[in-house]
Symmetry: C2
Subunit: 226 residues, 2 copies
């Protein structure tokens, strides 16, 4: 079931990526399970690796569920430095997989995390902060999903995701994901995502030199929608 995954790479990540990790997890612990995979490869199902907490080290991971009608719904896009648990409850049916090539995650058991915190209390505070940031992000995502029109959803997604990608207020970003991913993430069809991108371009809010390249021309237009 881990077919295709590279386990325990000797040199899993380059230095710049690692800097996104919390202090004590910065250097990989020998007890951590490190996985690297291409886009679409599963990181862990709900059964296997239960109880593990994963830290995204490089690339991008998506946590999602397949609904009875066959629709995929992405509940979380995880960038390097984000943590994710698959053990949220009794019958949680979420899957975690790489959303881009060369995605690297490190898995820790809860017990191991506790040991590391005991050795370094500062790590505990950092993780606590990470978890509450994670909650805050999910709540903002709920706000996006709750918006009425599709353009509003796309506009606020772009603002939110751009800020996460560059941790600032960038004027240009390169989307690491497809329109399908965006659609499944903000709860509209991929065609509507396209139409909204076109609409935002038409209104002068953004520019699309290439499909994946998004230039923010007029930020206030985007903000006024959400």
């Amino acid at each position: 079931m881990d077919a295709g995954w590279i386990l325990r790479e000797t040199k899993p990540v380059n230095e710049e990526r690692r800097s996104a990790l919390p202090t004590a997890l910065n250097k990989f612990d020998s007890t951590a399970i490190v996985k690297k995979g291409r886009r679409g490869q599963e990181i862990s199902s709900q059964c296997a690796d239960a109880g593990y907490i994963f830290v995204v080290v490089a690339g991008l991971a998506r946590k999602f569920a397949i609904q009875p009608d066959g629709h995929r719904r992405i509940v979380n896009l995880l960038l390097p430095g984000d943590i994710v648990s698959l053990d949220g409850g009794p019958d949680e049916a979420f899957l975690l997989e790489a959303a881009v090539d060369s995605t690297v995650v490190a898995g820790y058991t809860r017990r191991r995390i506790e040991e590391l915190i005991a050795a370094d209390p500062q790590l505990g505070r950092e993780l606590q902060q990470l978890v509450f940031q994670s909650i805050s992000r999910l709540e903002r995502q709920l706000l996006i999903l709750g918006r009425i029109t599709a353009v509003q959803k796309v506009a606020s997604f772009l603002l939110e995701f751009a800020e996460r990608l560059s941790s600032g207020r960038p004027t240009a970003i390169t989307l690491p994901i497809t329109r399908y991913d965006i659609a499944d993430f903000i709860g509209i069809s991929s065609e509507t995502v396209c139409r909204c991108m076109t609409e935002l371009t038409r209104r002068g809010a953004i520019a699309l030199p290439r499909p994946r390249e998004v230039k923010i021309i007029n930020r206030s237009i985007l903000e006024d929608m959400g």
Copy 2:
């Protein structure tokens, strides 16, 4: 700004409600801020009480944001035993208020929580579990918001909320909230919530003896929608 709130009640909660709280928070700490309020009263703004972590002790609290267009979006409904932080990020604009009368919350500083955990490591594990359950719940809520039709959203909301209310698979629940709250929580208009309730009744999935009383007649119909 705390007008109307009763601070530090001597006997804030009855025994049955307290049992929902994690072990060490079960007995109120003298350093906790205990608040009790009627429906609609604000528990804390984003400025005041920053850094506090609240535990809902009795009643029901709603965490929400008012959007530029005036729409209220509820990102979380919190039942007794749930924890909530208002300090998720730099410019978080969420508000927390009582959703029903006689709602009681207890506020702890992070420092105090850390001290309590240091004294009782088991509390730390319980809180960690609570936090991950909280994340899992938000992700399931994202699934609900991501559903396509309104009936699907209402159906899955009813299943989810019924299970939370009785921690089981009840056949009848009493909704503690209005149609407006439900609407703002699942991202549709209150009129559509009504229509979906009617539609579900017509299909024989539920029965509505009174507007707030929901009998689950045929659970599989509800489940087949989500």
